[in-house]
């Protein structure tokens, strides 16, 4: 039983906008959420800029009970609950009654590591011999599936409730896992998303790897430079994105607003062979993943008119563009429109895929391709492959009909999803 799957709700908690309205405006106008972080300076990080959602304390009681707020110290959990509940509400779905869960709705909400700050708190207590002082939520706030568990309880979902984790491809992979579950008839609706904590304990390892930009501490807005000749590393970020995936039948029955259709996709791994490694993708596996995604979606390569890349702002961006060119068999003026939102939101790690999927779907919904920031000095190898007019610096009016979105992660793992404008 193969069923059509559509997107009927969105939620987002991003460095440059919490909530769809602010987020969409920031994307349209190229407003950056990357800021100087004094705590990183105090801790002597080489990179002292990052993208972190700004959450006002007074919004938290709208999402959490007073009891849940006590001792809550897991930023990713906060972002994920905000984005997840917003998506649910945006789709017009009700919260399940106190007695009966919604058996047809599930949650697939990924993360890399959850509640690092809470875990740090616990480690200090344990090392002082005070394990009894941890309180009741040290487990739920730090287990990876804490985010799906919290959302599952708040919304009352009775279908599969789980968490996936595949580094920076987590969010995009999650969309495909949710899509498969609905397509095969095992669920009617899936809340799909991912979240990533903020802070030095999350970002420190990347600083140590020397893959973050070091020369932009005075100029945060210019730090993240995807596709630029002067790209010097990704800017770490955090946040959450969430989508409601729904069978077309269910969406029609509910008369829900349909943002876009999930046409299909693919995931694979380069096996850390053939040029692939723990930190770099095997190019052949990227090409195969994109081609397999098109095949699975039943879409010709020539039909793809918009690409949202992984494009993190390292020297590898040119290789990614080359892989897209190979996979689609296009170059120059025939290359689809391509952008990276990381220029203004940074690289939100496990949350990147879902935040960027939300932004991609907003492009389809609004008939726009959002501008690329900080690539006025396009990388020469990219310029050789893509007509610069296909890499708009400002937001343009253009209706994407078939949009390919890819994310790649540590461990040489890839995910590519194909979104389509919805046609009856």
């Amino acid at each position: 039983m193969d069923r059509r799957v559509v997107i009927t709700g969105l939620g987002v908690c991003a460095p440059n906008g919490v909530g769809l309205t602010d987020f969409a405006r920031s994307l349209q106008q190229g407003i950056s959420g990357i800021r100087f972080q004094s705590k990183l300076k105090a801790l002597r990080f080489a990179c002292q800029v990052a993208g972190e959602p700004l959450i006002k304390d007074n919004v938290l009681p709208r999402y959490f009970s007073p009891l849940q707020l006590r001792g809550l110290n897991a930023s990713g959990l906060v972002y994920g609950v905000i984005a997840g509940m917003d998506a649910w509400k945006d789709a017009g779905l009700p919260t399940a009654s106190s007695e009966f869960p919604d058996w047809d709705s599930g949650i697939l909400f990924g993360t890399g590591i959850l509640g690092a700050d809470k875990f740090r708190e616990a480690i200090y207590e344990i090392d002082k011999g005070n394990v009894r002082r941890l309180g009741s939520t040290a487990v739920m706030q730090t287990m990876a599936s804490g985010i799906s568990a919290y959302l599952g309880g708040i919304l009352g979902c009775g279908n599969q409730v789980t968490t996936n984790s595949s580094a920076c491809s987590t969010g995009t992979e999650g969309v495909l896992m949710a899509y498969e579950r609905i397509k095969s008839g095992q669920a009617e609706r899936m809340l799909s998303g991912s979240c990533s904590d903020s802070g030095p304990y999350i970002w420190g390892g990347f600083d140590a790897l020397r893959i973050l930009p070091r020369n932009f501490n005075e100029d945060p807005g210019a730090a993240s430079r995807p596709m630029s000749a002067s790209a010097s590393g990704f800017v770490p970020g955090s946040g959450a994105g969430a989508m409601i995936l729904e069978s077309l039948d269910s969406a029609r029955r509910r008369k829900a607003t349909i943002y876009a259709e999930v046409l299909g996709g693919a995931v694979n791994s380069g096996g850390q062979r053939g040029g692939g490694s723990m930190t770099a993708p095997n190019s052949e596996s990227v090409v195969r993943c994109i081609r397999q995604a098109l095949k699975n979606a039943g879409v010709e390569a020539s039909a793809v008119d918009t690409i949202n890349g992984h494009l993190t702002a390292t020297s590898r961006d040119a290789v990614e563009i080359e892989n897209w060119s190979k996979a689609l068999g296009v170059s120059g003026a025939d290359f689809p429109y391509v952008n990276s939102f990381k220029g203004i939101i940074g690289h939100c790690l496990a949350a990147a895929g879902s935040i960027e999927c939300v932004a991609s779907i907003l492009q389809i919904r609004k008939g726009q391709v959002f501008g690329n920031r900080n690539c006025e000095d396009l990388h020469p190898e990219i310029r050789a492959l893509v007509d610069p007019r296909k890499i708009p610096l400002k937001t343009i009016l253009y209706q994407p009909k078939v949009l390919a979105k890819a994310s790649f992660g540590f461990g040489d793992v890839n995910a590519c999803v194909i979104f389509g404008q919805f046609n009856d």
């Binding site: 007073p66 009891l67 006590r70 001792g71 002082r133 309180g135 009741s136």
Partner: protein, 84 residues
């Protein structure tokens, strides 16, 4: 400590952990935390920590096992304060 003051302090702590369908007026000395007030057993752990902080005492494992009702808690607090 004034018994009324002590009871009020404990009630304030317990109130935070009540589920939505139990009102603060439902708390009496005889109330059983789990069976009557419907408090999640995991949250009893937090009530113990809050009691320790509020009364500047420390509860042992046996005290926690014995603390079934609001009155049990009051009695334990009395003993601990007296022992200080």
């Amino acid at each position: 400590m004034d018994p009324k003051e002590k009871y009020r302090k404990l009630k304030d702590i317990v109130a935070i952990y009540l589920p939505e369908d139990v009102s603060i007026d439902g708390i009496t000395p005889k109330s059983h935390f789990i069976n009557e007030l419907n408090i999640n057993s995991a949250n009893l752990v937090d009530i113990v920590l809050d009691v320790e902080d509020a009364f500047d005492i420390m509860l042992e494992n046996e005290d926690m096992d014995r603390m079934q009702t609001v009155q049990d808690a009051l009695d334990i607090i009395d003993v601990k304060i007296g022992a200080k």
